[in-house]
């Protein structure tokens, strides 16, 4: 029989970003930082990958944070506490390699902060000194600040418009720390492709090994479709099984950025259609 998955906790973090904790005890028992799940909202739904933000094996809950960017995430946001997801598969991908590297910086961009959070937490637990640098467009959309503070040694919030914390991008903050004499042994960058690309350019300049978390278009998440392929060090890799973490200095970002636009027209149409069904309200905010 088809099992469904209860949304036990639902929080609206910003008008655009929500958090859900889903009852999936077997997934929660195995999930590690850096891994992802694939979910479907309903019987005819699209499969979308979301990186795990937290796993609580005792309560059997898996938490993901998502941004309402397309029809599926909008439909997902319509579900309330107590309602159920049709499908929830995981944990997929390789876990982030967590070891004591010394002094590390974890960069989270916007929604990426939700994924950077468990990575920072695991690195802190492994004995690292962790600078968590979280970037947002503006003060109003800063998410998970308390959780992030507890997951690292030093939290640095940045806003693009300077309305809160450091005025500028996460790469700006990272460079400032490096310039002030901090010697980072490793950088983890998690967020929009552009942010990861520029973080890698920066760390390459300073010779700091950098891990990025890739989340391209995929269907099955088990290596079957090959849709999530990307070029790393001249070789084709599948983000779903070989990743999602890769050596950021070896990823061909321009290729991934181009491929990510494959269904942009379709997404725009679907989003408009969905917004129409919701009376247009979902497009605002």
């Amino acid at each position: 029989m088809h099992q469904t998955y209860e949304i036990v906790v639902k929080k609206t973090l910003t008008p655009e970003i929500s958090l859900i904790s889903v009852s999936a005890p077997l997934v929660a028992a195995k999930a590690k930082a850096g891994q992802f799940i694939i979910l479907r909202v309903d019987e005819d739904g699209e499969r979308i990958p979301l990186t795990i933000s937290n796993a609580d094996p005792e309560k059997g809950l898996v938490t993901v944070v998502f941004q309402k960017i397309g029809a599926t995430t909008m439909a997902l946001d319509q579900l309330q506490q107590g309602e159920r997801l049709h499908d929830f598969v995981g944990p997929l991908g390789q876990a982030t390699e967590v070891e004591n590297l010394g002094r590390v910086a974890v960069l989270g961009g916007g929604l990426g902060c939700a994924i950077a959070l468990p990575v920072a937490k695991a690195l802190t637990e492994a004995g690292n000194t962790v600078d968590l640098i979280g970037g947002f467009k503006t003060k109003d959309i800063v998410i998970l600040e308390d959780e992030m503070k507890n997951a690292c040694t030093d939290l640095h919030i940045c806003t693009d418009d300077g309305s809160y914390g450091f005025n500028g991008f996460v790469t700006g903050k990272l460079e400032e720390l490096i310039a002030s004499g901090v010697k980072f042994d490793h950088v983890f960058a998690i967020g929009p492709l552009m942010m990861m690309k520029f973080a890698c350019k920066l760390t390459e300049k300073y010779g700091i090994p950098t891990t990025v978390s890739m989340n391209p278009v995929m269907i099955d998440g088990t290596g079957m479709c090959g849709g999530c392929r990307l070029t790393v060090d001249g070789e084709v890799k599948f983000a779903c099984v070989d990743g999602p973490d890769f050596d950021g200095h070896k990823v061909d970002f321009d290729e991934v950025i181009a491929r990510n636009a494959t269904y942009r027209d379709f997404e725009t149409r679907a989003k408009e259609k969905h917004a129409c069904r919701l009376g247009g309200g979902a497009m605002n905010g």
Partner: protein
């Protein structure tokens, strides 16, 4: 007295120019009269060669005799006792190389169309609400089956019939494996796959979806949970690419991705949540059944479709019937042609595929004449999508890291023809053990493994 008609009773099918614009089943199936007429062509050989050609050993003359007598329920019982998925194998088996290839009637005329009669019997039973779901009393032994494709479903069905408590673990949200994600609706309607799966559930098989074995649970975990034996039927799902420039462009698909979007995710429907690019001109690289399926799907989505294959028509690995259907539907075959690169426009969308002409040289290791490049023959075919249908390789996710489990050089599970692996209690079959092959060979392997599992558990 047998019906000595030389040719097969024709099966009605949709007109090529109608069907190439819809996803409904191409072949419409026999009527009772047509099935009886065809079944009467069987000579009822004392030593039937056809049975030897069947990977699941269906007593073919016996079920055909029942059909000839118009006892379809009787025919179904014989058929379904030997074959857990007759409506499926009747549609997708390469009968010309198996049962029908051995049929004595094929020497002077056409063989008996065993596949079409098999399909008729299975569909007739379903229409009449008959399902062979009887099982032996529960024996209290638990077996886990990894993967719900043809190997896994067959193995599960056989074991359930013997009284085992069987749980099937499927990674996708729908059971069926390649029957659901790979083979298109117009060759194998998904309602039929769902019907066969529902029959297994009626036999008490527990099918757990969204369970990626190797991730959520390992094979070792399954033994710890009390399963006494595990059958690995997780297929060979990793798509291959050519490693030529341009394969990362927008519009380059693996056949797996293209077919999964269309078949499993229903992207061909206007209201589907899952997108697929609606292309104008598509190149499908490869000459197997999967290439034909992808090409015929692209055609149905409105594209001009070219099959690009490096050898000649004689070497096409696809079933003759599939090639014939594809040609009828207007697929263009660019044979003795091989891609060397894919070109893109300024927005990174595919704009052309550059190919070279080939000629056939000496036979290679596979016995086929190997293609040799004609120097300086480069030319471009303008296309906006390329589908790579080059075959698949082992996906080791479900079994990687299982202590003591030996693998083949290509990374498949090393298993003999009985499905026995290097670890007692672990059995394997289908593409996971052999690499990419056919649905019926997987079904045969699932059936043999079920027998081995029964012997193993009884001997414990």
């Amino acid at each position: 007295m047998a019906n000595m008609q030389m040719n097969k009773t024709p099966m009605p099918e949709q007109e090529p120019n109608v069907r190439n614009a819809n996803f409904k089943e191409v072949a419409l199936g026999y009527t009772l009269e047509q099935a009886v007429n065809e079944a009467k062509r069987c000579l009822q050989c004392k030593n039937p060669a056809c049975v030897g050609g069947c990977p699941v050993g269906i007593p073919i003359p016996q079920f055909l005799a029942k059909v000839a007598e118009e006892d379809i329920a009787g025919a179904y019982e014989i058929l379904s006792n030997a074959n857990a998925l007759p409506a499926i194998s009747g549609r997708v088996c390469p009968q010309e190389n198996q049962c029908e290839g051995k049929c004595i009637r094929g020497i002077k005329g056409e063989p008996v169309s065993i596949g079409r009669v098999e399909r008729f019997v299975a569909d007739w039973a379903a229409e009449h609400g008959i399902a062979n779901v009887a099982t032996a009393p529960k024996n209290g032994h638990k077996v886990a089956v990894v993967g719900s494709g043809p190997a896994g479903l067959t193995c599960a069905g056989e074991l359930a019939r013997m009284g085992y408590d069987v749980t099937v673990f499927e990674a996708f949200h729908t059971a069926g494996g390649v029957l659901s994600y790979g083979i298109p609706e117009f060759r194998l309607p998904k309602a039929i796959v769902a019907r066969e799966v529902a029959n297994l559930e009626k036999m008490g098989v527990d099918i757990q979806l969204n369970m990626v074995i190797g991730k959520i649970l390992t094979i070792t975990d399954l033994f710890d949970m009390g399963y006494e034996s595990v059958f690995i039927g997780s297929g060979a799902g990793l798509p291959m690419f050519m490693k030529i420039p341009g394969e990362a462009l927008i519009g380059v698909y693996s056949a797996n991705e293209y077919l999964t979007r269309i078949n499993l995710m229903k992207a061909y429907r206007e209201d589907a949540a899952t997108p697929i690019l609606r292309n104008k001109k598509v190149a499908v690289v490869g000459g197997g059944n999967v290439a034909m399926d992808a090409a015929r799907c692209a055609k149905r989505l409105g594209a001009e479709v070219h099959i690009i294959y490096r050898r000649s028509e004689a070497e096409l690995p696809a079933r003759k019937e599939e090639v014939h259907h594809a040609k009828e539907e207007g697929i263009i075959f660019d044979l003795l042609t091989n891609p060397v690169c894919i070109k893109g426009d300024e927005t990174n969308h595919v704009s052309a595929i550059t190919c070279v002409k080939m000629e056939l040289g000496e036979p290679d290791a596979s016995g086929r004449r190997s293609p040799v490049v004609v120097e300086g023959s480069d030319f471009d075919i303008e296309v906006d999508a390329v589908i790579m249908a080059l075959g698949t390789q082992a996906n080791q996710m479900s079994y990687n890291g299982t202590p003591g489990l030996e693998k083949t050089r290509k990374g498949c599970v090393a298993a003999d023809e009985k499905g026995i692996t290097s670890v007692p209690g672990i059995f394997a079959g289908g593409d996971a053990a052999t690499g990419a092959a056919t649905v019926i060979l997987a079904m045969g392997a699932g059936k043999s493994a079920a027998k081995s599992i029964d012997e193993y558990i009884k001997s414990k």
